[in-house]
Structures are given as structure tokens and as C-alpha cells.
Amino acid sequence: MVKFSFVVKDEMGLHARPAGQLVKEAGKCTSKVTIKKGEKSGDAKRIFNVMGLSVKHGDEVEIMVEGEKEEEEAAALEAFVAENI
């Protein structure tokens, strides 16, 4: 498993649009992608899971990628997150 964390820069937190972008990007992965905030976690490929974490501006979020292509997919996700969220 590969994991990385990031701090949400968007003023509004992980609201509908960035949550949707993340879900879309996670959906491209063959690996299982989990998003975790504090004690709560969810499937990053499911938008209700992601929005259900109620991630706000300044929150630290962890992404865990587990699967055969975890290395490259985690790297792609990390780059995407740094650019967009």
C-alpha cells in the first residue's frame, strides 16, 4: 500500500466540484483508493463517501492506494491533488 497526505487549499473545502474531480480521478485507478480524514475514512471512488467526510479548508487528508499498480497510480493521484485541490 502506498499513501500520501495533503492539506486542502480550497477555501470551501472538498466541496462538490473538487470532490467530483477527485472521484473521477480515483475512478481511473485499478487500485482500491481510500480517503481518510481523522478517524473517518471512505472509498475515494464514491462521491457520497468523499463528500460525507465533510473535509474543510485546512484539513489534512490521507489517501491510501492499494493494488498492483499502486506505485504509479498513487503518484498520478498525488500530482493531480497538488495541482487541483
Binding site: 466541496h15 462538490a16 466540484r17 470532490a19 473521477k24 464514491r46 462521491i47 457520497f48 463517501n49 463528500m51
Partner: protein
Amino acid sequence: MKTYVGKPVYHGIAIGQIRILKKEKQNVHRSHIDDVEQELARMENAVEEAKEQLKGLYDKALLEVGESGAAIFEVHQMMLEDQDYQESIQNMIKTQQINAEYAVAVTADNFANMFAMMDDDYMKERAADVRDISERLISILTSAQSEEVNADEPTIVVADDLSPSETVQMDKSKVNSFVTRYGSANSHTAILARTMNVPAIIGLEYDEEIDGKRAIVDGFKGELIVEPDEAVLAEYEEKAAQEAAKKQLLLELKGKETVTLGGRQIRLYANIGGISDLQSVMQNDAAGIGLFRSEFLYLEKDHYPTEEEQFQVYRSVAETMAGKKVIIRTLDIGADKQIDYFNLDKEENPAMGYRAIRICLKQIDIFKTQLRALYRASAYGNIGIMFPMIISLKEVKQIKEIVEEVKAELTEQGASYGEVELGIMIETPAAVMVSEDLAKEVDFFSIGTNDLTQYTLAIDRQNAKLDDIYDSHHPAVLKMIQMTIENGHKGGAWVGICGELGADLTLTDTFVEMGIDELSVSPSCVLPIRKKIREHS
């Protein structure tokens, strides 16, 4: 004439005919089904149909309101495809042998409740998105038709609430305002109104009988005036015309350079007092921020704001401005802006007392915290820092020493920072008199005309009795400004004005002739000044 009051969420004036959008109440009945497979297939077809509709709406919204407004329909598609949502519906059909409509309605309630219970206003609003996609599915399943707005004359759309699908389906060339009974500042109504640049009011309790009547929407006061009498109507027609002229100005001058007919560029920046002003900075197309008053960070708290709290705000402004100049003024309290936890003594003459840079140079910890936050934020954009209430070269040298200490500490700690322009406010006659020496030490001057006028004329600007002799066009004040510009240039500093005088259209030509490099004014003044400068020969 009858006036209803709500909460304005977007400014403007609109006059038109009221059209109440009534939601076809979708009464969903629970019924037993025998063929589970057939019901699941019916459900699957409805989802496919809904996705097709959403793709259509996305394309329509993309053309009408742009990508950010259209994105919600992409999110709706994802919500429809969400496995938890789908599984919930399918399980209910399978285990309880109930009709798809009912399974969707129950699932919608469950998911909407999850959002409604969140402690975040924005997320609470998303319950409306769940209902929107679910209503779409139910409409498809029951082949119901939704109501559309296709009017011939300017229309004020009134509804309990508006879903994104309803708003995008409207013929927007006719809709000139929105009024809803529910909703919040984050609701789609508010977002759409901002994108369409039309006034909107929420939280307005109305009567059904207003449907079809002529009315005025006052998006400044949050009023819906139904069947206005002639005097009121005339007054608002005038206001609407002024608003239209402003919008026209915006259309003509947005994206244009602030340059005189002779080809001289003037930097036209905006003054802001907090993050919430950024939106109007963008709307009015300022080239940067010439004065960001950092006081609000201190005023809104009951403790000294931490480095991290300040850093987040500065960084977010720097990032939002995306490389455009952001000049942040360090703490300027004392005098008329008191803060409890600073425990400042009451003074006989606070305007000339312990304030601004004088506090920072005595309580260096407070100053350093702010400087560290500012320098860290400078890695994320184009930040400038300016210091208020300067009277001497000694102060400037002391400030620069502290700045060097802060930079050295950050470097040692491995924190990154960018290039930062340092400037000072010129707002005391003393600073004007020694401006030639000061200019050699800093990158820029910003003239604070309000204080400069009060100190030059020795008139307390808080004293209403003296208003008639408080003359900001006094030749002494204008000579001070002229001298500052000349000395600034001699010493290699660029010179701007960030006080109220900078927005005085009767002086714009004078300032340009004096050789001013920058003007920083309140966001709403940016475009009128740009127009004035573009006409300067």
C-alpha cells in the same frame, strides 16, 4: 403596493413580471411488485436516461454559464452512479419487493439526511443535490413533465427553492432575477445569480397571489416590491438605468489596460479589508491589491492571531490573485481601532499616540509573528509589505533589520519565501519632508491621504464640527503629494496613493500629471478611474 423582505445574496435592480414556479409535488406511493428483475431493469433504464439528460444539461450550462457553473451536472452524474446510492435502491427493490419510485424516494431521504446533519453550511445545502437527482429519476420513472419558464417579457422567477436542473432549463434571456423562500448563500440560486450577474433574494416569505404581477427586485436591500406605485417605479427605473450603465462600463473596460492617451501605464489596484472582498476585486478587474488592511485578523479574534492563522489568510489571498501584486499593510491599530487583548492604555490624543508601527517596534514579538506569516505566504504569490505611520529613517532601518532577522530564521528552518517588495505609507508630514532619504531604503511609497490630510491641516477627522474646513484638496496637501512623488522617484521608489483621495475623479488628471505610478481604490471605483485615465491626454 406591497413589500416583502428577504436576504439579498446578489446585488442589482430588476423590474419585471413575477412567475411563481410551483414544484409538481411528486407523490410517490409504495406498491408491491412481483417481478423484481423487471423492476431492476426499469430502474437501470431510468438511470441511463437520467445520465443522458444530465449530459445535455451540462452542455447547455457550459455554453450559458461556463465550466464552473456546469460542473454541478457532472457531479450529479457521479452521484447517480455512486455505488452506495445505487445499491441502496437495488437492495430495497430486491428485499422488500417494492417499486423503484418508492425505493428512490426512501434512499433520497436517507442520503439527504446525511448531508443535512453535517456541521457545515455548504454541505447541508448538498441535500438539495441528492433530492434533485432523485426527483429526476422519479420523474423519468413516472414520465412526469417539469415546468419551464418561457416568457415573453422580463421575468422575476419566484419559487420555494430552485434546483440546478430547474435553473439551467430556464430561458435565461428572459429571467432577470431570482427570489426564493428557502435556500442559503451557498445555494444554487445564489451561485447562478452571481454567474448570470442578476439580483437574487433568499429567505423571502411570499403569498401565492403575487403570481403574474409586476414587481421590483431590490437586490441591495433584499426587497420584493409588488405592484409598486408610480413614484417608486420611477425611482427604481432610474436606479436600474444607473446599474445598467455600470454594467456597461464593466463590459467596455474589463480587461482593458489602464493607460493614458499618451501611452503611460498606471497601476490600478484595489483596497480590501478581508478575504470576502476578493470577489469584487476580481469582478471589477483590478490589476492587484494596493492595500490589504490586516487589522481584521486582529479585530475578529479574542487573542493574538497565530502565525499559522495569518499565514493561511495571506496565502489564500496571494494564491487567489495568482501572481498579481498583493500589498499587505502590517498591523495598524491604536487610535480609532482598539482591541481588548492588546490592553492599550486610554490616550488623550490617540491619533498621535501609541499606534501602528510604533506598537510593532516596541512589541517586536507581535510584529515578527506577522512578518513570518507574510514571508511564508510570499512563496505562493506576489506579495508586497508596507508599514504604516512612518516618521523617520531610523524606523525604516530598524524595520529592515527585523525583516532580515525573520528571513534568516526562516532560511534556517528550511521555510521557503519569495521576493517581497517593501514599502512604507506616507501619511505624516515628517515622512514627506524626509521622503528623499526614505526612498533610498524602500521599494515603494503609498500615500495615505486621509491621515496625511488630518496631520497636515491639524484637523481631527473624527470631529464633525470641523467638517467644513477639512479640505482634502487644500493646496498644502496637494503639495505634500507632489513632493512625495518627486522625492520618491529621485530615490528610486515607485509612488502610489491608497487613501480616499486616490478615488477622487476630480483629481485623477492632477495625480497623473504629478507622475503617480499607482492608485489603489475601493473595488467599485476601479473602472470609473480606469475610464478617466484612458481619457487623459
